[in-house]
Amino acid sequence: MSPVDLRGVDGASTLRAARQPRRIPHAMRTRRQARRRARQLAVALPFVLPSLAGVVAFLLIPVVIVAVLSFFHWDFLSPPHWAGFANYTAMSRYYHVFHALEITAYYVLWNIPIQTAIALGLAILLNRNMPGLGLFRVLYVLPYMSTPVAMAVVWSWMFNGQFGLVNHLLALAGMHGPDWLGSTSTALPVVAMVSNWQYAGYNMLFFLAGMQAIPASLYEAASIDGAGAIRRFLKVTLPLLNPTLLFVLVTDVIGSFQIFDTVYVMTQGGPGSATDVINYQIYSTAFRNFDVGTASAMSLVLFAVILLVTLAQFRFFRHRTTYEVS
């Protein structure tokens, strides 16, 4: 970086400035500056305005509205009433929001570690120079291009207790499969498995790109020092994948906390409350019970939880060494 700030300096204006007499009155200079800024704005505004309107109207204003609504009793129809913190207390007293958060946390735990481990494993398998691996890479990514609602239907069929393929296959092996989606102990893992199936190959792509960016010389150096395959993975690959891992984990965890489509199709929050994840509860509170205030309060709690978890991940990865490889 040069110490002189050259932003906004173009050839023409420098020339013009050089031809001017040395002392330009201050007022005139600021006026000229203001005119230049106005001209810049006039050029840039048409480019920025549409997306700015979108960000303000559909992201910023809604965040303000949701915060305001969380302090009101409202059912979308009758006029809203001031509620103070009543919605925040109702949230835990009548809607068991902490139970829902707990279930969501279990969902995230069934989803993220398995999905990330599979993705890493697949990337290790495919990160080599052998013919035909491109085909397998494509096949593993295929599920990413599927509609979660439609795929949830297909998986519901396969895990159906009576007619499902899974139990048919188990019967062939002489086992009696459970009613997967109808039992409180298996419903949540099965729903999480659908996401694992859909996004493992997708995440593999990021790990593959990360691994291919690691210079071969590092592996050679490690081999010469007598490091075996496992040590090379732990001491070279994994540390250098830290930035990729952080990116994958942060984006996946944010998505995982908001799981909705598969739950809606496969279990409707049941059996009992076994899959009553927070997003499903926000939906039913707002659009089935029409308790807008409490649903808003729940949204804010989820927002806070996601923020905290994301920050925790950044902190965790910051305390681990990251290496710059040029």
Binding site: G11, Q40, L41, V43, A44, L45, F47, V48, P50, S51, G54, V55, A57, F58, L60, I61, P62, V63, I65, V66, F136, V138, Y140, V141, P143, M145, S146, T147, V149, A150, M151, V153, V154, W157, N160, F163, H168, Y202, F206, G210, A216, S217, E220, I224, G226, T244, F247, V248, I254, Q258, F260, D261, Y264, V265, N279, I282, A286, V292, A295, F303
Partner: protein, 296 residues
């Protein structure tokens, strides 16, 4: 690994035994590819089985071996689904909404990304950090207020309500494109400005052709989002005429929960277009996904 030969020569004693054991081992190769193929089966099987199920009459799907390929291609399920109710209309609704959403999100996104990457204007960096900050807002937080806004302006149960919130540009793809546009060589732009090209001309003649890979990425992200979107259309439409495919599949599933042959056929109507797109553009899609992982 040609580069590896030099250091190995320097340590012949240590590396020689390893090299010998690394000869061609057909058994190992066979096992490796078998392993890859078995994994591929896990990822592909649900599609294949869904096709098998959807191409069978109801009697066969409840038989003792529902995973077998259909004896004859029975298209009755697809006919029932496609010509019943308004299913074709729902398919059209999804296609329409997704097209508008994708066009708008990518078009307006390119404009914004270009301005943030290549234009000078007061407040640019502050404004961009506002865009970045909105990346932290989870979708679900804006659901209730967005619905409230749409009700206030009487847009519920219209196509507008379904696509409008996502059509004016998405901060995530604007961010991706801005990073890419910033990495384009600066002297090309300087030369164009010296030649007196307008910003619009620079955008259409330089940035869009040069930024093609990242624009493909943004298009893919927008398209998949629009096609798969479920929760928002579910909330904001409750009439039949604007219903999209995902909402109608979920409704079918709860209405005909025990008619798997029909529900599977309906799901495949949503899945097949994505499969076709994937088959045609698989190289670009794989590359574009990886592109969204770097440049961050």
């Amino acid at each position: 690994m040609a580069a590896g030969t030099a250091p190995i020569k320097r340590h012949p004693a240590r590396t020689a035994p390893r090299m010998r054991s690394r000869g061609p081992r057909p058994l190992w190769y066979g096992l490796f590819y078998l392993c890859l193929a078995l994994i591929a089966v896990v990822f592909v099987a649900p599609y294949v089985l869904a096709f098998f199920g959807a191409l069978k009459p109801a009697s066969a799907i409840y038989g003792s071996s529902p995973w077998t390929p259909p004896a004859s291609l029975y298209t009755g399920n697809f006919k029932t689904i496609l010509f019943s109710d308004h299913f074709l209309r729902y398919l059209g609704n999804t296609a329409l909404v997704t097209t508008v959403l994708t066009t708008g999100q990518v078009g307006f996104g390119v404009l914004a990304a270009y301005a943030f990457a290549r234009l000078q204007f007061p407040g640019r960096d502050a404004l961009f950090s506002v865009y970045l900050a909105t990346l932290m807002v989870p979708n679900v937080v804006t659901l209730v207020p967005l619905y409230t806004i749409m009700r206030e302006v009487h847009l519920t149960n219209t196509y507008w309500a379904i696509f409008l919130p996502y059509t004016l540009g998405a901060p995530y793809t604007i961010f991706l494109m801005r990073q890419y546009f910033m990495s384009l060589p600066a002297d090309v732009f300087a030369a164009a400005r010296v030649d007196g090209a307008s910003e619009w001309r620079i955008l259409t003649r330089l940035v869009i052709p040069m930024g093609r890979p990242i624009i493909v990425t943004a298009t893919l992200i927008a398209f998949v989002f629009g096609w798969n979107n479920f929760l928002w259309p579910l909330i904001v439409t409750d009439s039949n005429s604007q219903q999209v495919l995902t909402v109608s599949i979920a409704a079918l599933q709860s209405a005909f929960s025990e008619q798997w042959n029909l529900v599977l056929a309906a799901s495949l109507v949503a899945l097949v277009p994505l499969l076709v797109i994937f088959a045609v553009f698989q190289k670009q899609i794989v590359r574009s996904i990886q592109l969204s992982g770097v440049n961050r």
